[in-house]
């Protein structure tokens, strides 16, 4: 099951590209809240989790080794090509963020795709990304503030990446857009199980027309 079908590759790449585009908007959010974060830079860590989302979504949707890393790298490379303010630092960030999520799922041998593992992925990404940013961008920040920043990173990684990403995957599966993927299949089977359970006594009605 580790072989990447064409659809796995494209879904992974597409998640990366979609976030690469959406990140242009989120990047503007950083500028918008600039006046707030210049007063206390570590608070910017609260936004960090959003950047790890492509990795987590790809892992939860495609469920194959390497998907998280590839999606995050595509998002990173796309923002680099479009002129991200962090230049080649973006690529390293992509590596750290994708690698963190990848690591969490690797620990569970790509067999568990539950909320706790998703949160763990967000936390790993947060630690790695914080380490990189401390080294590359905030060398001169005092350790007290740096650790405050780590705290914000972890919080954001758990909530904005872990919880939000997990919820987004469920919302996506509910749309039927993931029916070719394991997560979509699972959702459909569950939905069918509850439907046959609750509608056991009602006569079967004509199926609707065109779900092809």
């Amino acid at each position: 099951m580790t072989r990447f079908r064409t659809v796995d590759l494209l879904v992974t790449v597409t998640i990366g590209a979609a976030f690469g585009v959406a990140f242009l908007g989120y990047g503007q959010l950083y500028t918008l809240i600039g006046p707030l974060t210049t007063a206390f830079k570590p608070a910017e860590g609260l936004l960090a989790g959003v950047w790890f989302l492509p990795a987590l979504l790809a892992a939860l949707i495609v469920r194959k080794p390497g998907a998280a890393l590839l999606a995050e790298m595509i998002a990173a490379v796309l923002s680099m090509l479009l002129g991200s303010q962090w230049g080649w630092g973006t690529a390293i960030s992509g590596l750290m963020q994708g690698g963190g999520v990848e690591l969490a799922f690797l620990l569970f041998r790509y067999r568990r795709f539950t909320l706790p593992v998703a949160i763990l992925g967000g936390l790993f990404s947060a630690v790695l990304e914080w380490g990189w940013e401390k080294f590359a961008y905030y060398q001169e920040m005092s350790w007290a503030f740096s650790f405050a920043m780590l705290g914000f990173f972890l919080l954001s990684g758990a909530l904005l990446c872990g919880v939000l990403g997990w919820a987004a995957t469920r919302a996506l599966a509910a749309t039927g857009a993931l029916d070719a993927m394991p997560v979509g299949r699972e959702r459909a089977q569950q939905a069918r199980a509850t439907a046959t359970g609750s509608a056991a006594h009602s006569a079967p009605t004509a199926k609707d027309d065109a779900r092809a």
Binding site: F4, R5, T6, V7, L9, L10, V11, V13, T14, I15, G16, A17, A18, V21, A22, G25, G27, T31, G34, T38, K41, P42, L70, V77, L78, M80, L81, G83, Q85, G87, W88, G89, A136, Y137, Y138, Q139, E140, M141, S142, F145, A168, A171, L172, A174, T175, G176, A177, D179, A180, R185, A188, Q189, A195, T205, K207, D208, D209, A210, R211, A212
Partner: protein, 690 residues
């Protein structure tokens, strides 16, 4: 040439409760031309996939036999929406994708591309961007993409349903010409235009059961009527007051004038249609009326926002709720629950009130989007291609909803190329095709595969993408030598001197550099404020200045050099030169190229939401919802694209060739020297200043 056959085929996708095909036997002798008909959901698309050998047993259970192609690309598959099939940045590379997957040599690839583009009558130069081409040109290009692998069978899934009448017949002619000497299977709703060109008509019922099969004329006569225009008996009532109007409006799209001096008055109780070939400005007219595009001249008169409702071409772009009923009431301007239930009843969606809107069929989604718009009780209803791709029954249901809205006295404006809807309209406003477009078509187009054209060539473009990457990476490493503000300033010197070689235009350069300088300033401030030195002391500021210089040295060379890296050339370098895993590289390049397309979808999605009164561009809820909608759209597209790519031999392309070489020239030696220099110089500079 080979025959196609399906033997006792049952296909049960794991995500469905019922099989989509049930025990289907279908034999198609080599060279036969078959028209495949049947209502939406009867399994036509699945049959085509089965014939193409593309049913994926990871997603469903397959019983019976569906022998696949004998070699990659032996069976070409064309999809309903040609945009889904596009993978490349230029017309030439698009046609070359299949031959690359078949690992052909470069000369052979060029020969195949030339022949395929000729055969499919693609009238664009090889360096044009496929995603910018019109729907008709895209479908011809998709056809060329299949022909480049010299298929023995062509399988077409409603290839003309998204095109206007004239374009459709031109594309049909291209398809029929290209199908000479091949097996042809076409799935279609509109049978008439194909009937005289095919040998056999197969009509599918539920679950792909064959309900009629025989010579086209006799078989079609046995059916209950081809989708002729449903008799639209419409007694024209007295026209209502003018609800919205354009007065001598001119407008541009992408800097190109598309509308000139348009006058249009929309009255209550009237259905007005805007017609014209693609590119004639239908969309721009709708956008101008809705207030999304400002006219360059003239004036627009429109009701207040709550009185305007808009239904986008893809209904999913406007969906926000997790149930059908909630969707009808999602707009803050739609609060009447009784009306919502009445509308659900009218659209035949009552039984689905609890379902997720995205899981509905195409026809159901269209009706839902329309009643969600009507729930606003708008005085002006605007629709973009409201009937495209629907079969007869679903088409009639949409017309009925519009008819109801007209009786209620609403002004309705639809952009359309559907003859039936046009016949239903009170007024038609025909836009002429632009004169500019014909100039872009070449009578004898250039077929030579070349690099992606640039707006203006700069010295940095001469370098191999790998060398451009090396410059950025080594410069970033060098930046860590910066220890003092003096060293930082010295380290910046060569970057400032070299920057003009990598800046394409003043504006573009500023756009690229501004974020860097802003974030450098931000870092200086943060360091001065939160560093180990006393906050905002002179010492702290010097430390901040050093950090700002260091981060600029770190980032700027990479950002500037990356301005000359284009995804296609990067793919050629990574795949062709570095031998990175071919499928991953090719899929990534396709994804990066489609990013621009995603950006456009993002615009459409956010606009559709804003027009429903669901929030501004910066509200987090709106951003989250729009992101989800973009992902749904992109993921559906990715699955279609995977099909299109696999039909062009991508599934097995573990070793593939690349249509263009990724040369390392003399200039690249200089590039490497610059990269090494940028890595070493900051250390020297630091030594110099002590």
């Amino acid at each position: 040439m080979s025959a196609l056959s399906l033997g006792g085929l049952t296909w049960h996708p794991y995500s469905r409760s019922e099989p989509t095909l049930h025990h289907l036997d279908l034999e198609i002798p080599a060279g036969q031309r078959v028209l495949l008909a049947g209502a939406s959901g009867s399994g036509k698309s699945t049959v085509l996939r089965a014939l193409a050998g593309l049913l994926d047993e990871e997603t469903g259970e397959l019983i019976g036999t569906a022998p696949g192609p004998s070699r990659p690309g032996e069976r070409g598959l064309l999809l309903q929406n040609p945009t889904d099939a596009l993978v490349a940045a230029t017309v030439g590379r698009e046609a070359a994708f299949g031959p690359e997957n078949a690992a052909l040599r470069r000369e052979e690839i060029q020969a195949r591309v030339t022949a395929a583009l000729e055969a499919a009558l693609v009238d664009l130069d090889a360096d044009r961007a496929p995603l910018e081409a019109s729907g008709g040109q895209q479908q011809r290009l998709a056809l060329a993409g299949s022909l480049a692998l010299e298929p023995s069978a062509l399988l077409l899934d409603e290839p003309t349903s998204m095109l206007d009448e004239d374009t459709a017949s031109a594309v049909r002619a291209s398809i029929l010409a290209a199908a000479q000497g091949r097996t042809l299977v076409v799935a279609e709703h509109r049978l008439t235009p194909w009937l005289e060109h095919v040998d056999r008509l197969v009509v599918l019922g539920a679950q792909g059961r064959i309900i009629a099969d025989g010579p086209p004329r006799e078989t079609v006569a046995a059916l209950v009527g081809d989708p002729a225009a449903p008799a639209g008996q419409h007694a024209a009532g007295p026209a209502g007051p003018v609800v919205a109007a354009l007065h001598a409006v001119s407008a541009e799209r992408g800097g190109r004038p598309v509308l000139e001096g348009v006058d249009l008055a929309l009255r209550g109780g009237e259905l007005t249609v805007i017609t014209g070939p693609s590119g004639s400005g239908k969309t721009t007219l709708l956008r101008t009326l809705l207030g999304l595009t400002a006219p360059t001249a003239g004036s627009v008169e429109r009701p207040e926002p709550a009185q305007i409702a808009f239904v986008p071409q893809n209904p999913e772009h406007s969906f926000v709720a997790s149930s059908v009923r909630a969707e009808v009431l999602a707009s803050p301007w739609a609060s009447d629950e009784q009306l919502a239930d009445l509308l659900l009843e009218r659209a035949g969606l009552t039984a689905l009130a609890g379902a997720n809107p995205h899981t509905l069929s195409g026809g159901e989604q269209r009706r839902l989007a329309i009643i969600a718009a009507l729930a606003q009780e708008p005085s002006l209803l605007v629709l973009d291609e409201p009937t495209v791709g629907l079969d007869t029954a679903r088409h009639a249901a949409v017309l009925e909803l519009l008819e109801g809205a007209r009786r209620e006295g609403r002004a309705i404006l639809a952009a359309t190329h559907d003859a039936v809807l046009i016949a239903h309209a009170d007024r038609e406003h025909a836009l002429a095709g632009p004169a500019v477009r014909s100039a872009q078509r070449s009578p004898s187009p250039d077929r030579t595969i070349g690099p992606v054209p640039r707006s203006r060539t700069i010295p940095a473009d001469a370098l191999n993408p790998l060398v451009l990457c090396l410059i950025g990476i080594l410069a970033a490493i060098g930046s860590f030598a910066v220890q003092t503000w003096q060293g930082g300033l010295l380290a910046l010197l060569p970057i400032v001197l070299l920057a003009p070689l990598a800046i394409r235009s003043l504006r573009g350069g500023l756009l690229r550099l501004a974020p860097i300088l802003l974030s450098a300033a931000g870092l200086a401030w943060t360091t001065a404020l939160l560093g180990d030195a006393p906050s905002l002391s002179g010492e702290a500021w010097l430390l901040g200045a050093k950090e700002a210089a260091r981060i600029t040295v770190f980032v700027a060379p990479g950002v500037l050099a990356l301005g000359s890296v284009d995804p296609t050339a990067l793919g050629d370098a990574l795949g062709g030169r570095l031998r990175a895993p071919a499928r991953v590289v090719a899929a990534s390049v396709a994804g990066l190229i489609r990013a621009g397309h995603l950006g456009r979808q993002w615009e459409i999605i956010t606009h559709a939401r804003m027009l429903r009164g669901l929030g501004s561009r910066t509200s987090p809820r709106m951003l989250a919802g729009a992101t989800l909608a973009l992902l749904v759209d992109a993921l559906r597209g990715a699955q279609q694209q995977a099909l299109a790519m696999d039909s062009r031999g991508f599934a097995t392309a573990r070793t593939r060739t690349w249509a263009l070489p990724s040369p390392l020239r003399r200039a690249d030696l200089l590039g490497v020297a610059i990269a090494l220099g940028l890595a070493v110089w900051p250390w020297l500079a630091q030594l110099l200043v002590g």
